[in-house]
Every structure is written in C-alpha cells, then in structure tokens.
Symmetry: C2
Subunit: 286 residues, 2 copies
C-alpha cells in the first residue's frame, strides 16, 4: 500500500478499483474473484507468471515483475565469482591458517551466456575490473559494456580462453545442458563456472566429474539440477571447489523492496497515462 501511495494514488476496495496490484504470489486461485470489468490494469508479482497464465485475458493490461530482480541477481553473480576466484569458498571451510590461493578478477577474461536484464546489470559491476567480457546471446547485436558480443554458436571458440563463465540466460530446449562434458573439457583448469540462471543449463553429472578431476577451477551455483532443494548427500555439497547457494541471488526480502519500487513507478505511470513497465505478452507466456 505504501508503494501505491508513494506515487500519489489511493488504495481502495477491489470493487471500486480501476487498477489491481497483486502482491501475493502464493495464492493465484484467489485472483479471479477480485477481477471485474472496471479493472483496466493488473500488476502481478515476480518475473515468472506461470501460475497466473490461465487467468490472463485481453480485456485489460497486465504487467509483471520482469526485470525488477536483475540487480540483486547480478550482484550475487559477482559475489559468487569473487568468492571462487579469491578462494573464499575454500577459506570459509577451514579452521586453520592455510596456504595462499587465489586469482584476481582484475583483467580476467569473462564469458557471459545471455544478454538480458541480469547481464545489463552485471556489465557495469564488472567494468572497474577491466575484464575482457564476451557476451553470447541469441543475436550478435552488440551490448554496451561488453568487449565482444556473439551468438551461442561461438561458445566453443571462446571457452578455452575464459577465466570465468557466467550463466545468465533463459532456459529453452536449445539452452538445456548448454554446459555439458564437452564444454567443461574445453574450459581452463583454473576457470570458474557461475550459474544464476536455471539448473537445467548444466549437465550436473558432467560438472561433478569436472570438479572432481580438477578439469575446471570450480563452480558456484545458485540453481541446480536436480532442482531445489538439492538433495542432502548430493556430491555437489561436499566438493571442495563447489559453492551451492540456495536460490538466493534474489531473496524474497530483497525482491519485495524492488517490487515496491516498480509498483510505485508503474502507478505513477498509470496516473500520468504513460507506458507501463513489464508488460506481459500473453501469447509468449512472459
């Protein structure tokens, strides 16, 4: 409510409203009873709108949280990468003084898969490290802040020189297992893999083999396959060169603040008759 009022609007009972902000992602089934013909615009929470899809109609405008959460996810990706490079993953597990281990991110060769919101937020964070950054995406259209932009077809050309490979792409049939045994074998023995996208991008068995044999430097995974929760006893939990974070690149607490900012912004735009942000394309499903 504060987010709506911050834009200079007022919160009214649903039957008097012309706009509906749906803040509860857990109960989509309560949704249809509140909809009526007077509601012109609905703001949905979160970027993923799967549970709401069957209820969307073309009688009004729908917006969702897409793009809202890219900033904390990009920050998490950098935190995970630095934790790998500077061996914080290893040192956090030690209870004794140990030998110096670590590599600098400064000047490193970074490959990012995906050219969406997370990459847009990650590139400025990487800029002061003077990395050489290659972004691989659907189209080779250049991205500001990337040294080189190409399509995923170039993956095997760029992997051998990468010090870090960051997964920040959408999961589609084409990108499932985009990192498998062949890709891991192509990587440097010091390179770190960071996944803040979806678990299905990585062939987990191949990754476990690569981490065990030391054919890559390590992996920092916010998402896994099998999907959350990664079962207790899974080898990824105990490999010394692997960090698992429990899908927290964007936590609910962080997300709520950012969603509130988006709601304020969109309510302001709605009042001003401007373009709303995060428009849902019902046919595409996002």
């Amino acid at each position: 409510m504060a987010a709506v009022e911050a834009a200079g609007s007022v919160v009214v009972p649903p039957d008097e409203a012309t706009a509906l902000v749906w803040a509860d992602p857990q109960h989509p089934e309560r949704f249809p009873e509140l909809l009526h013909d007077g509601i012109e615009w609905v703001q949905l929470p979160y970027a993923g709108i799967g549970p709401f899809l069957p209820m969307l109609d073309d009688l009004r405008t729908w917006t969702c949280g897409k793009g809202v959460y890219a900033r904390p996810v990009a920050e998490a990706a950098l935190a995970m990468l630095l934790a790998g490079f500077r061996n914080i993953v290893g040192y956090a597990r030690k209870q004794t003084w140990s030998a110096p281990v670590g590599q600098n991110l400064h000047g490193a060769n970074v490959v990012i898969l995906g050219g969406g919101g997370i990459t847009d937020e990650l590139l400025p964070l990487l800029a002061p490290f003077e990395c050489r950054v290659t972004v691989l995406r659907r189209t080779a259209e250049p991205i500001e802040g990337a040294t080189h932009t190409a399509t995923l077809a170039e993956l095997h050309e760029v992997l051998p020189d990468a010090d870090a490979v960051i997964l920040a792409l959408a999961l589609t049939p084409e990108t499932e297992h985009v990192i498998g045994a062949a890709e891991l074998a192509a990587m440097k023995s010091t390179a770190w893999l960071v996944n803040v996208a979806r678990g299905g991008h990585v062939d987990t068995d191949a990754l476990v083999d690569a981490l065990r044999s030391g054919s890559i430097g390590g992996a920092a995974l916010d998402v896994t396959d099998p999907q959350e929760p990664l079962p207790d006893g899974h080898p990824l939990w105990t490999l010394p060169n692997c960090l698992i974070t429990p899908h927290v690149a964007n936590t609910p607490e962080m997300g709520l603040v950012l969603l509130a900012e988006r709601v304020t912004d969109n309510v302001q735009r709605y009042l001003d008759g401007g373009d709303l942000i995060g428009l849902v394309d019902i046919a595409k499903g996002y």
Copy 2:
C-alpha cells in the same frame, strides 16, 4: 629479468650495473655485498621495507613496491564484503539446502577507514553499487568517489548508520584498537566489519563478544591479532558469522606480476630520466 628487458634495458652482472632490482624479499642479508658506488638506484620488493631499513643510505635512490599491491587488496575487500552481505560465508559451510539470508550491497552505507592506495582502488569498485561511502582519514581532504570525507574524530558519528565498515588504514599508535568494544556497540546488528589492514586495528576479544552476541552482523578478516598464523582453536575460526582469510588479499603470486609491471615502469622511467615511482623516505621508514 623479463620485466627489465620489457622496458628496453639489459640485465648485467651486479658489478657492471648502475641499477639494482632486488626481487628476493627473503634474504636482505645478501644485499650489502652486491652494493657498490656505481649503483645509483635500487628497487626493493614489497611495500613494507622493514628488513632492509638498516642498509639504506643516502648515496643513491631507493624505491619500493608501495602502492603496487593496492588493487588486489581492494578486490579482496570487496570479495570479503560481498561474501558477508550475501551470506556466502554461511552457505559455503552448509551441506544442506537452507533458508534465504542476505543483504544487498547496492545502495548500502559504507564507511572506509583510511584514505590511501587501497581506498583509491576500492572506491571505483564500489561506484556501480551506488553506495553512500564515507572515508575517514588523517585529514578531511575530499577523495574522489567518496560521498563524504572526514577525519577519524567523526568515527562515532558515522558508525551507527554504517552497513559495512572497511579497515584500510595504516597501523599507528593512534589507530591501534580503533575498533574496540565501544565502536562495535555503536554498529548496526546487521553491519559487517572487513579488515584488510592490520590485525592490531581491532580489539579481538571485543570482536569475539560482538560476533557471539550478534551485536554486529559479521566480520571478514584477512589479518588478525594474534598475528598470523591465527592459532588453531581460536574462537574466530568457528564463529558462524566470521570469515578468516590467511593474509591473502595480495598473494605472492599476484604480487609478483604487479611488481614486474612496476619494475618495467620504473626501468623505463630510469632510462628516460623520469621520476621513479615508490620512492622510499628513509627517515619515515616507508
């Protein structure tokens, strides 16, 4: 030798040389036998020149590695801070899926103690996170990239609002135990302390109490008091909100590359008759 040749100079036996690059920090006692009147300039390794001090004279120019290592140290400070904020310290120690924990660095209130080379390198790394950064230093002279610059006398005014406190200052009698029980009590219960300076800046007993009681969020320490190695069994090793890294903000391996760059730069300047970087002030001892 490659670093000298990269500047277009040649490496000759010591008795023919006019400049001496001393790459071995372990054996200062072998040093005097190589010095002769024809040597106009000596480049020492590392920033700290304690072991060499008794041998320095005013018959020639002396330079050391000061400033060379600030970049990796600043990178380590950011890595440690993010590892605390995003709970990588905690997740690295878990072998099971756990609850979401974490705070964003984006927009945080950061206090840095010290206005030297490390701070100069850290401020650009923090810039894309849009933090409010207060730098406390000997003089209140403004530093580019800091939101606010003041002297250490303001410490107690700024501590209550700090989300992160980073120690990057020199250890002097005035800055010993600059963070003690009173300062820790003034900090937020969510705030992280990062020390990449010297162990003596922090009252360790007071810190252990603050970490145990949760009166601060956590601490990430690359240096400790007792000094390295921190003894096995010390409470800092097992506190869940404490990360110890074994004085690796700059590892020997990282430093060697950076020192080589400095040597190349200084040899080039020596050949050109330019000003050398890292001049030693013998009276001050650094």
